[in-house]
């Protein structure tokens, strides 16, 4: 059950990407949701989720796409 080092890097990347996507959605989606509550609107949570997704994907690209 020995793995190639490159295999390991991919595994590592997989879990990091998962973490980034979850926290991007959670944080900016949460901000959007709170703003919706505060302003009485309904669309800010969607914007928050999209911003979080975009930010998370950008982070993933910064960290794994540039090499």
């Amino acid at each position: 059950m020995t793995h190639e080092p490159s295999n390991r890097r991919e595994e590592n990347a997989l879990w990091s990407i998962f973490g980034y996507l979850v926290s991007g959605l959670l944080f900016w989606g949460g901000i959007g949701w709170a703003a919706d509550h505060f302003f009485g609107t309904t669309y800010l949570v969607l914007i928050g989720l999209l911003v979080g997704m975009g930010g998370a994907l950008y982070l993933v690209w910064l960290r794994f796409g540039r090499e």
Partner: protein
Amino acid sequence: MRAFVKLHAEGDGFVPPSTNDFNLPPITESIAWLTKPVLLVFLSVILVSVFFILSSRKAAVVPSKLQFAGESIYGFVRNDLARDVIGHEFMRFVPYLFTLFTFVLTNNIFGIVPFLQFPAMSHVAFPYVLAIFSFGVFHYVGIQKHGIIKYLKEIAFMPGVPKPVYILLTPIEIATFFLVRPLTLSLRLFANMFAGHLLLLVFIMGGDYMMHDSHLIMKLFSPFSFAFGIALTFFEFMVQCLQAYIFTLLTALYIAGALADEH
């Protein structure tokens, strides 16, 4: 849904397993905290200790079967988890990773051992505590290696980005490292053990209920429920090993990340 089930389960009808099946009563009335999961955790510590002390006590160049079994598990954690993931500093972390792996594995497998049959990790408090340990370890080694300011800076500020973008990215990075990582670590283990135990309860209890039902057709289908329960038990064994492996692997990955010179 709940009302429907209740309606359907009038009289001595089938009571589906629920979260109540996880809240086991204390073993003696006088000690409120001494429940079955607590006892199982103690038992697992004793079992793991005794097994590895016995298997390593009379260590020989030509190993006995017991020594071989113990060394295989140790070798797996040391080589495939610690060394491959962490790199040249790995020996420092082998004791922790090894303890973690064997402890979680033993407790998970208790879920399908006859008479024990309860995975302690299906109580969320146990995975939480383990995740807090791992959380402490990987942040501690990061701070120890880089110093607290440089370590936090490396987490929060990805290099090579225009400054205003940090408003967008820094919260995501901080949330990842301080919230999402420990939470996913513990919840993954908890949810797998919880769902697996519930699944087994449904099929075994369902089969039992159908067997004692007065309708012939129910009796006829009862063996299928039991057969599915047995098949799922093997499936659960796989999940239990896998979850112990993943918990340890992720801890090792986080340690490796904290030790790395840059992202």
